[in-house]
């Protein structure tokens, strides 16, 4: 296809409603637009005037797939505003519930959303007819993640047990031990999954990304760390607004984020992995190496392997946390609200999730800002498509369109989260 448009009116196998439009003119890509038409969500406005303690539960409603991420960024921002530190076993339990969300979200994407692209099926339901064992493994892994969320969060979707300062109710040790048995089986299946994803076919497509993710001196990042990049960025979460600008694209309901003076960047599993490989558990590092990954991954199609390595890590880390668990003497530390501004940055399954709140003396929210990972990646997804499409212009339109959709799904975009945000259109002139 030398001239024309590729249009996908409703992108399938992504979270939320979006479209892709690509215009090809004289054998060159003229325009790429990832259009997010899901209606704006207005959460930042809902939060004004609400009590600080409501932010974790209100923001968790932004996403059915990554509610824990919203709760975590919210509680950390509030604790930052009030000068409170949550450490020890309560901090460990926060990592544990985050492990559950990564396992659940990544397993859904690997098996149900992304795998059909690699194996040539319309959807996971068609794929299941020929690859029953693979799909069953995916569902079992997802369930293992759900079980962590249900135990720590009180229920699987939109958990209700997370609060500023800690939790409402602590899990019983015997409940955690029960979870450990399921997680040991899940870890074995996660290892099989890494090996299986390594057998998929990947186009040769490496890009020079600026990876942005949290980095922490002692651990693979979930809740805490500095915001770093492979190109010299190294800032505290409180400096996010000074370095990241958001701009509106007229065709999209999601804001496009970029680094001031540097442009598009990539958040998410590939960034986390490439910036923090040495912090993965020995088992996850070894599995990644055996799957053919180096300590950095710059081919977005291989992100499916990276996600499976993160699932393996999350199972391993969850088991470590449970093994070292000793019940703390209280479920939450005491919070005394004070006026101020708090910043929270945590690693959602899809990447960096930034929250900022201004709180008054009564503990009420006067201003809120939320920047989800898909907003941050939108510009980079478009940039990748500009590079990717020219290599495949000889393909018939239908095949080219499928390739483009697969390329978008490399980033596991969560459109529901990003709106303030997918359909594919490729136009040729």
């Amino acid at each position: 296809m030398k001239t024309g448009t590729i249009k996908v009116d409703y992108l399938a196998r992504v979270e939320g409603e979006g479209a892709l439009y690509i215009k090809v003119k004289g054998g060159k890509v003229d325009d790429v637009r990832l259009r997010i038409f899901e209606p704006p969500r207005f959460f930042e406005a809902f939060l004004r005037g609400r009590h600080y303690s409501e932010a974790p539960d209100i923001t968790s409603r932004i996403c059915g797939i990554c509610p824990v991420a919203y709760q975590m960024s919210a509680v950390h921002a509030m604790e930052d505003a009030f000068g409170v530190e949550v450490d020890g076993q309560l901090r460990a339990l926060r990592r544990l519930v985050y492990c559950g969300e990564w396992i659940e979200s990544h397993s859904l994407h690997i098996f149900m959303l992304h795998a059909p692209d690699f194996l040539g099926y319309e959807d996971a339901f068609e794929m299941a007819k020929d690859h029953r064992a693979v799909v069953e493994r995916g569902l079992r892994l997802k369930k293992a993640g759900n079980e962590i969320m249900a135990l720590l969060g009180g229920r699987e979707i939109h958990p209700i047990n997370v609060r500023v300062g800690g939790f409402y109710k602590l899990p019983a040790s015997r409940e955690l031990l029960g979870l450990a048995e399921a997680l040991k089986r899940a870890r074995d299946e996660a290892l099989e999954t890494v090996r299986w994803t390594a057998t998929l076919d990947f186009p040769d497509f490496e890009q020079d990304y600026e990876f942005v993710a949290l980095s922490h001196p002692d651990e693979y990042p979930f809740n805490e760390g500095r915001i770093t990049s492979n190109k010299g960025l190294d800032i505290a979460p409180s400096e996010f607004d000074e370095h990241v600008i958001e701009e509106q694209a007229p065709y999209s309901n999601a804001l496009h984020a970029m680094l001031k003076g540097r442009g598009a960047y990539l958040a998410g599993p590939m960034a986390r992995y490439s910036l923090n490989f040495d912090k993965l558990s020995a088992l996850a590092q070894q599995a990644a190496r055996e799957a053919g990954l180096s300590s950095e991954c710059r081919n977005p199609f291989r992100s499916v392997i990276v996600r499976s390595v993160e699932v393996l890590y999350a199972c391993d880390e969850a088991l470590r946390i449970i093994d070292e668990y000793e019940a703390p003497d209280r479920a939450a530390v005491e919070i005394v609200p004070r006026a101020g501004v708090g910043y929270g940055c945590t690693e959602a399954p899809r990447g960096l999730l930034y929250h900022r709140y201004r709180i008054d003396e009564q503990g009420l929210i006067t201003d809120a800002k939320i920047v989800p990972p898909t907003s941050q990646n939108q510009k980079r997804i478009e940039a990748d498509l500009r590079q990717f499409v020219p290599h495949y212009l000889d393909l018939p339109k239908e095949q080219l369109t499928r390739r483009c959709e697969q390329a978008v799904r490399n980033y596991d975009p969560c459109i529901s989260c990003a709106t303030h945000f997918l359909r594919l259109e490729i136009e040729r002139e």
């Binding site: 059915g64 859904l108 996971a124 339901f125 068609e126 007819k129 997802k142 759900n146 979707i157």
Partner: protein
Amino acid sequence: MSQPHSFPLIIGIGNEYRGDDAAGLIVARRLKELLADSAIVIEHNGDGAALMEAWRGAETVIIIDAMMSGVAPGTIHRFDASAQPLPKSSFRCSTHAFSVAGAIELARALCELPRSLIVYGIEGKNFAAGIGLSSDVERAVGEAVRLALKEA
């Protein structure tokens, strides 16, 4: 969830906070009162994977969900999902990437479909954020309860 097969499992699906989408939940609540001793009735958010877990081991399952096919609001459709796929486009897309129709097809491919799976779809009108059914759907809820009672 396992239960003796003499007890049918009734699953009301929906989102309480999206207008007519709550119809399945409200039908389930009424059935729960009426069938306390003769059926297991649960409310569900419609997440496909969790739904497959919910009906695991059950032989007879009745699902009630809101749908949107373009016919008059309040119209009740009956589908024998054990015999054929649901019309995918009519059941609300799930934000969890796979929905009721998806769960049924995945279960069929994995040979995990209950022996009998009947789906009642209540045609909705308003799926915007907010609580409360539109009047046509409110009326249909009573009829859906009556139909499900006959089925159970």
